[in-house]
């Protein structure tokens, strides 16, 4: 399993990733789209966001994500093909 940006988040990441991978292959892909692993994700994400702030890339992230790439006309074209 891959590492987290914050070494202190590795354990939380592992727990979350395991939960997600199971949900994705056993539920989501089979049509059950009800989310699971939400609690684990919240803990893990809080940890990652702290690490992101410490590394001072939080502003860069906000800037990079200010437009939703999939609602622009750009992505509509990409989705067709």
């Amino acid at each position: 399993m891959s590492q987290s940006i914050g070494s202190q988040c590795n354990e939380l990441k592992k727990e979350y990733d395991e939960c997600f991978n199971k949900w994705y292959s056993e539920k989501f892909l089979k049509g059950d789209i009800r989310p699971e692993c939400e609690e684990l994700f919240k803990k893990y994400k809080d940890c990652v966001m702290n690490a992101v702030k410490q590394k001072q890339i939080d502003k860069l992230l906000v800037e990079a994500r200010k437009d939703d790439p999939f609602t622009s006309s750009n992505s509509e074209n990409k989705g067709k093909s």
Partner: protein, 179 residues
């Protein structure tokens, strides 16, 4: 100044396995430059049933000689946005660098769909746009480097995906996975 790159590729695995491999593709022996991968946002759109994910990837870059003077810190943060629609079996991903974007911005779109000739295979269309506004006569250099690097990386990432797909196949054989 912009350069474009496009190609399609076929994985001999079903769409479900390929999209799972997309999540599991790091670490793999062909991506030793990838330091970390984190999910920073993820939800299922209740109206469409589409899974939306944003991941932050940290790569330790390998720079050409002329680049070493330009970029002090050779690490690059990459944002990966994706949407998975399980109904029409389409996964669309967008990857772009958030650091060093002044030197070079690389945007890569990938569309994963069931192969129309063989429902057990998956077709991936890759489209990339490489933009550099650097000036000082370096722009062409930067963009050509970008294209070459991009083509090399595409081969590597395909090998990485294939490696992970092989692992998924083995696990499935042993009953660990049901995709």
């Amino acid at each position: 100044m912009v350069k474009f790159f496009q190609h399609t590729f076929k994985y001999e695995y079903n769409w479900e396995s390929v999209t799972l491999a997309f999540w599991l593709r790091y670490p793999n022996p062909f991506a030793s430059h990838v330091e970390s991968v984190d999910v920073i946002d993820r939800y299922v759109d209740p109206n469409t049933g589409v899974l939306r994910t944003t991941r932050l990837i940290l790569k330790r870059g390998v720079l050409p000689k002329w680049g070493k003077g330009l970029i002090k810190n050779p690490e690059a943060y990459i944002i990966e946005e994706s949407m998975v629609n399980p109904k029409n079996k389409t996964m669309i991903t967008l990857t772009k660098n958030v650091t060093h974007a002044r030197v070079m911005q690389v945007e890569e779109w990938q569309t994963y769909q069931v192969d129309l000739n063989n429902r057990e295979f998956t077709q991936v269309k890759t489209e990339a746009r490489i933009i550099s506004n650097f000036g000082w006569g370096l722009t062409d250099h930067v963009e050509l480097f970008g294209i070459k690097k991009f083509a090399d990386n595409t081969v590597k990432s395909r090998k990485g995906m294939s490696h992970v797909l092989e692992m998924i196949r083995e696990k499935r054989g042993r009953g660990f996975l049901t995709v």
